[in-house]
């Protein structure tokens, strides 16, 4: 139904429904608008600058460079393996933290968050000092043929370390979003703990878990400081960019960055699409 307003304009009856309308001229609105724009520009401008700078020719040339290709490939697959390790070994801990109260739980949660807070080179140094030749554990690993320093294994260890908290926290909040009563009912109907997890908890929280895997992989792809200490070679893409930047300058490092951004964007968008709720479930 249309409503005749005082000033002669016709307003829709549905105007009050949905989002609140803030009257124009409110200073609050202006401040909000200004800050939002500033934040978005701050994020987009440097990235846009970098992506738009290299010429198509330079981009084309870069992607045919085997060194670039192998570094991007290495970056992607080590990050994916790190995320997979976080998924397999982190899920039980996330479930434990979401479902059980125990003495020292706050401490465990702080420990889980530690890798986020520690400066990245420190992570690399810490891992080297434990798994390097100077430590019995490192010597043991060397004996069974696992080399950390300057190896793909080392890169994966570092990436798993920095990525774990992101997966753990996402999976934990996913499990917390599943009411305990659903699990209670499942068990009263005869399902064991494991069956309950796979038939109730997992189907209701896998989106959170996938989100966590994405965050973990994203964090791993972006790692530089810790990796450069443990493994300068073989080169992951950020290390290659850094090397080209220091050796040849801005112009030569930009195209590598653009390609890494493109590949990651595609990968993460695909994963996000998978995790969208289907129409039926909405």
């Amino acid at each position: 139904m249309a409503v005749k307003c005082d000033d002669g304009k016709v307003g829709a009856a549905g105007e009050t429904a949905g989002k609140r309308r803030v009257s124009l001229g409110s200073p609050f609105l202006y401040v909000t608008f200004f800050c939002s724009t500033a934040v978005l520009l701050f994020i987009v401008m440097p990235l846009f600058q970098m992506v738009s700078q290299p010429s198509l020719g330079a981009l084309h040339e870069t992607i045919r460079d085997p060194e670039v290709l192998s570094s991007i490939w290495l970056s992607v697959y080590t990050a994916v393996i790190a995320a997979a390790i976080a998924f397999v070994f982190g899920t039980p801990l996330a479930y434990l933290l979401a479902r059980h109260d125990f003495v020292g739980k706050k401490l465990v949660e702080s420990i889980v968050d530690l890798p986020i807070m520690i400066p990245h080179p420190v992570v690399g140094i810490a891992i080297l000092s434990l798994l390097g030749r100077g430590h019995p554990l490192g010597q043991l690993m060397a004996k069974v043929g696992l080399r950390i320093m300057g190896s793909v294994t080392g890169i994966i260890v570092v990436l798993t370390f920095v990525g774990l908290p992101f997966y753990l926290n996402a999976a934990k909040s996913g499990f917390e979003s599943v009411p305990v009563r659903l699990e209670n009912v499942s068990r009263s109907l005869g399902a064991s703990r494991a069956a309950t997890f796979f038939r109730v908890t997992f189907p209701l929280s896998w989106r959170h878990m996938l989100g966590g895997v994405i965050m973990c992989a994203a964090r791993a792809v972006s790692e530089f400081g810790a990796v450069v200490i443990v493994a300068y070679h073989p080169m992951i893409a950020p290390v290659l960019m850094y090397e080209r930047f220091t050796a040849y300058g801005l112009k030569y490092s930009q195209p590598v960055g653009v390609w890494l951004i493109l590949v990651c964007l595609l990968l993460f968008m695909a994963l996000r699409l998978v995790s969208l709720p289907s129409k039926v479930e909405r």
Partner: protein
Amino acid sequence: MIKLENLSVKLPGFAVRNVNLQVAPGEFFALLGPTGAGKTVVLESIAGLLHITAGKVRVAGRDMTRLPPEKRRIGIVYQDYALFPHLTVMDNICYGLRYFNQDTKAARQRIGDLVDLLGIAGIVHRRPLHLSGGEKQRVCLARALSVNPEVLLLDEPLSALDPNFREDIRRLLKNLHGELGITFMMVTHDFNEALYLADRIGVMRQGRMEQIGTTEDVFLRPATPFVAEFVGMKNIFEVALSGQQAVFGGLNFPMAEPGGDKRGVLAIRPEDIVLQREDGFEGGFVRYAGVIEQIVPAGLWHEVSVRCQQALFKTVIDRKTVLSQGYGEGDAVFLGFDKDAARVF
């Protein structure tokens, strides 16, 4: 059927202590008490969902204290339904069929009967999200009954429902109990629900059992002032007992037997109190003169507060009487009740 021996459960910041309880096969038992009394803890202990600190849980003669919930075959229905949102109604109901060796043709047939009995045949292909509260509760009941339990536990099954659905489901519960002949144990904080449905009632308070008895017993002869108030005896007076008199607020209440010299509590239901303009009460009635202090209309009833000396009585008088008698605030009236209707502790 259910036997709890000194059941104790410790939770962070709360504990249930030494609960003893026996529920007969086929009985409808209600656990009654205010929020936080520990009723749900007792219920979940029977289902095996909580770690029991001390004591024993026996169901159908078996010691189940340490048995995991999936081995107990005890159905549970929650107030907030707890339907699996990712499964259709039918998949919810059939969830437990693959366990307890019952994924058979006969079981499927039984599910069909259950669906018909509960009147949910039309919604079996839908998802829980789009169901009404009443429909959800019916699906919950079907799911809990699908594994053929000997005991059905109901945690405030009516609390989350709209009033019109509540009536519906309440009747359904009564019918189901009659039809299936299995043991029902329901948690509720609403005495009227318990009164309507249960054969026997256990009243809980702060993790302890205050009274267990038949519904009538608890209703007419509450064991403690707390139970008295909980079952609707809204007039609670502290009294001084001396000989056969209970004295409170300047009034005397004659007791049937001498109570000794001590302090006590007198309790009476508002609906057991009668108001009259003139003192025309029968012989067995206690009567006091008083003044109407407040009249609050509450639908078909008026809540009338009457002050007799220092004691303020709450009564409920039907609307018609208030209007025909023309009662108003400040009127002098006589208030009376049957001696046996009052309880002295």
